[in-house]
């Protein structure tokens, strides 16, 4: 393994990300922050929502922002770089195994997901105003969740970016990602779905359910959530699966 080359690949992605920083932040964070303000502030201040909703919403917003930032950071460049222009060729010819080029993409995505998380926590907190009862009493659980969610975003971005073409991006978002977010327990705990028993079990195939429930379990443990051990095991398994699929697809796309 050639660490210098790996680091150079990572620096290249970091350089490009820094250049597009403002644009990326606006693209990934504005909508969730507006949503936070409307549901977490306006509706709670007006009495439509209970103040406790803030504690349900904040971890969900953090997770969604991390996932979207990471997925987009990996998938979008991959989709365009593997297209007609073959921009990625330069990196495929770098003196490093092809799989490490893919792993580098995942790591770059993880870093972007974590940065998005770091930015969104204080800003969403601010947008909600007073009454947020988030605690960091379980730093290990929080760290584990951040890592697993970031890996989910990076590996998911790799698998997605190597599976779809440029023309399918819009469709992918409205057909797959939007339902995943809505049924991913970001804006409500999984236990709230008990009045819809079929749906409650169907959504368990959605990785975002574990991501959101786990983040809620780490930050707002008083809100009912799926057991942390189950969450962490499920998410870790999903991450490994996506990573394996992503690496295979990347290799297939990279070699003629």
């Amino acid at each position: 393994m050639n660490w210098k080359t790996f680091y150079a690949l990572l620096s290249r992605d970091g350089h490009v990300a820094r250049r597009n920083l403002v644009f990326t932040l606006v693209q990934n964070l504005l909508q969730p922050l507006l949503l936070t303000f409307v549901f977490g502030r306006i509706l709670t201040a007006g009495g439509m929502m209970q103040t406790g909703f803030k504690n349900i919403l904040l971890p969900g917003i953090i997770t969604i922002c991390m996932v979207m930032s990471g997925v987009w950071a990996v998938a979008m460049p991959l989709i365009s770089e593997f297209q007609f222009t073959k921009e990625i060729e330069d990196r495929l010819l770098a003196p490093i195994e092809i799989r490490w080029v893919a792993v580098e993409k995942v790591v770059a995505g993880m870093i972007q997901a974590l940065v998005a998380g770091l930015v969104v926590i204080p800003s969403a907190w601010l947008a909600m105003g007073s009454g947020v009862e988030i605690n960091l009493d379980q730093p290990l659980a929080f760290a584990a969740m951040c890592f697993l969610v970031a890996l989910f975003a990076g590996a998911g971005g790799l698998a997605l970016g190597c599976s779809i073409g440029q023309t399918q991006v819009g469709l992918m978002f409205s057909l797959v990602l939007a339902p995943m977010i809505m049924f991913g327990c970001a804006y409500y705990p999984w236990s709230f779905l008990k009045s819809f028993p079929g749906l409650q079990y169907a959504v368990l195939i959605n990785p975002l359910v574990y991501a959101n429930e786990g983040m809620r379990g780490a930050l707002s443990p008083k809100v009912p959530h799926i057991d942390m051990i189950i969450v962490i095991a499920a998410l870790a398994a999903i991450d490994v699966f996506l990573l394996v699929v992503g690496l295979q697809r990347f290799h297939k796309k990279a070699i003629g």
Binding site: K4, T85, K86, E89, A94, P95, I96, I98, I255, G256
Partner: protein, 341 residues
Amino acid sequence: MGIGIRIEQLRKVYDSPPPAFAGGFGFGSARGGPKNKKKEKKKFDVVAVDNISFEIRPGELFGLLGPNGAGKSTTIGILTTRIKPTAGRAFIGEFDVWQQQVAAKQLIGVVPQRPNLDFALTAREILVFHGAYFRQGASERKKRAEELIERFKLTDRADHMVRGFSGGMMQRLSIARAMMHDPEVLFLDEPSAGLDPQTRLLLWDIVRDYNKLGKTIVLTTHYMDEADALCNRLAIIDHGKIIASGPPADLKSSIPGGYLLRVKFDSMPNGLIAAFEKLPGVTEVRASDHGADIYADRGGSLIPAVVSAAQAAGTMLSDVNIQEPSLETLFLHHTGRSLRD
């Protein structure tokens, strides 16, 4: 000093349309809908490289010459680790390009047929990051990037994003990038396609200079003059097979007679071909559509004899085209087709 290349019975069969790596595979996608996938896969069986073996000596400037779709880009793709061969082996120096990819990649620089520059970076950044991928130190890569920018006349646009570059500028930058890490072997796939004549000469100079440093250079081209002017040795490739190889001069002198007269007539009476064969200086005659290809040691001075023979056989000469000894004639001699067909 110098790194050689060895190819042993290399074969590549595409069972699905190849990813558009460098383009130029010469066949379109034959894919229909997603139904009958298995059946369809079987139907698509294109032999791009058909059991070829050859060796490129260290420090040689070697050319692969052939029409579009001949298998040149696939051969380059395999040698540069980008395409997996169906059978056979290829070596850069002592390294098997498929088994020891990283070691092989360290030795090579690649200029693709279509520029594949990193659009997220400026010209200078492209060079500097490329150097970093190849583990050059910070000051070394900065210095080398600056030299190449100057050499390739990109100074004015060095700090611009490459998205807005013209085709020629992108091509120049692609070549600069391939030379950035000072590779022992430089691959250039159709390097002068789309270049203006001036830039083409600049490219030739740069390629020759780089070769003088003892570096091995492999280029593909379908321009005869380029192959003739640049290469120490050539392999002529068609339909995935090597049909002739050797130094350009040897190849040209191997054409029977040297000159080629492509003649056409109003009609083709029997015995006309035999009559041509008896003419002095003619070494070979082949029938063609409404005419004949006559290989001879003379060009224009043979025409009166050809006209007389035609008149004696009761037909009239309608068209004549004289070709001097060239690689074009050689290609035609071996394949019966013009390079541009």
